[in-house]
């Protein structure tokens, strides 16, 4: 049992069960929708201040150490425990991407900086990310979440296809 829960990777259904349960549980205990990406706003405000930007001066960022901050902190901790018990090495590698391409460090940094930038900008414009839209939103049958999720998956697939063909030479 300990081996199953703490050492081996989980089967998909256990992951689905735990992650999916978070949607009703967060509502039941804390009246809060599941979501992560708005928390980047907390971090942006901590680092840069709000500098007269109305969105960052809004009520939802009054206190940057609010529930979103604790949720993010918890996620780091949870993954830290998982990583240590599974023996995942601390590294600058990014799987197949860094293995196959062997780019210099600055190129990798530029690439992932850009990826993160688009990820967060897109999440804000779409009004949510994979957890907020695809899991929370679809579990609540929101049309906007269906549209957002279709575009998430479609353009994620197109991008990875392009990486595979144009950067990795079809590997």
């Amino acid at each position: 049992m300990i081996q199953f829960l703490f050492v081996d990777p989980w089967p998909w259904w256990l992951g689905g069960l735990v992650i999916g349960s978070l949607v009703p549980l967060l509502y039941y205990f804390l009246n809060t929708p599941l979501g992560v990406s708005t928390g980047f706003g907390n971090l942006a405000k901590v680092l840069f201040g709000s500098r007269k930007l109305k969105w960052l001066q809004g009520k939802s960022f009054d206190n940057v150490l609010n529930h979103r901050f604790y949720m993010m902190l918890g996620m780091l901790l949870g993954a830290f425990i998982s990583g240590r018990t599974m023996g995942i090495p601390i590294s600058t590698e990014m799987g197949k991407f860094t293995q196959v391409l062997q780019w210099p460090a600055w190129a990798n940094i530029l690439w992932f900086l850009m990826g993160g930038f688009l990820l967060a900008l897109g999440a804000r414009i779409a009004g949510g990310c994979t957890s907020g839209h695809s899991i929370h939103g679809l579990a609540n049958f929101h049309l906007s979440s269906l549209i957002a999720t279709i575009f998430f998956l479609l353009f994620g697939a197109i991008t990875v296809f392009a990486i595979r063909i144009f950067l990795m030479g079809g590997a």
Partner: protein, 138 residues
């Protein structure tokens, strides 16, 4: 404070689960998008089903929380920018191999490149705040 600790606990569960199904592993995301390994797709689909069943149960409980407090479901509105945002997000997801949740899991596991992606994500969010000054309905 008690509330924040609850969020910390739920966050731990979320981060642990994301790490355990290897959603934080670049190769799993890559393989999902190339269709060679659909494990993560199954995780997402089963999570949606479990979430929907749970929300149904909450509806049967007349949307009352554990202390009988009313639950307000966050309705995400469809705007003319939803598809555009989805497109930008999808490109970022494909490039970085992370979505906001799995990004936190990557960093927790000790991925240094994840910190680079996070830096980009913070800048992207700040860029949104600046764009919103110009485009009010964004």
């Amino acid at each position: 404070m008690k509330k924040n600790l609850s969020f910390l606990g739920f966050g731990m569960l979320f981060g642990f689960a994301l790490s355990r199904v290897r959603a934080s592993d670049y190769n799993y995301i890559y393989n999902m998008f190339t269709g060679t390994d659909l494990t993560l797709a199954l995780v997402i689909v089963s999570a949606i089903i479990v979430g929907a069943v749970g929300m149904r149960l909450l509806a049967m409980n007349h949307y009352r929380g554990y202390q009988g407090q009313p639950i307000e479901v966050n309705k995400k509105e469809l705007t003319k920018y939803t598809a555009l945002g989805g497109t930008i997000f999808g490109i970022g997801w494909g490039m970085s191999g992370a979505c906001p949740g799995t990004l936190m899991a990557q960093i927790g596991e000790g991925s240094l490149m994840g910190l680079v992606t996070l830096t980009g994500a913070i800048l992207g969010t700040y860029a949104y705040a600046m764009l919103k000054e110009k485009v009010k309905d964004l």
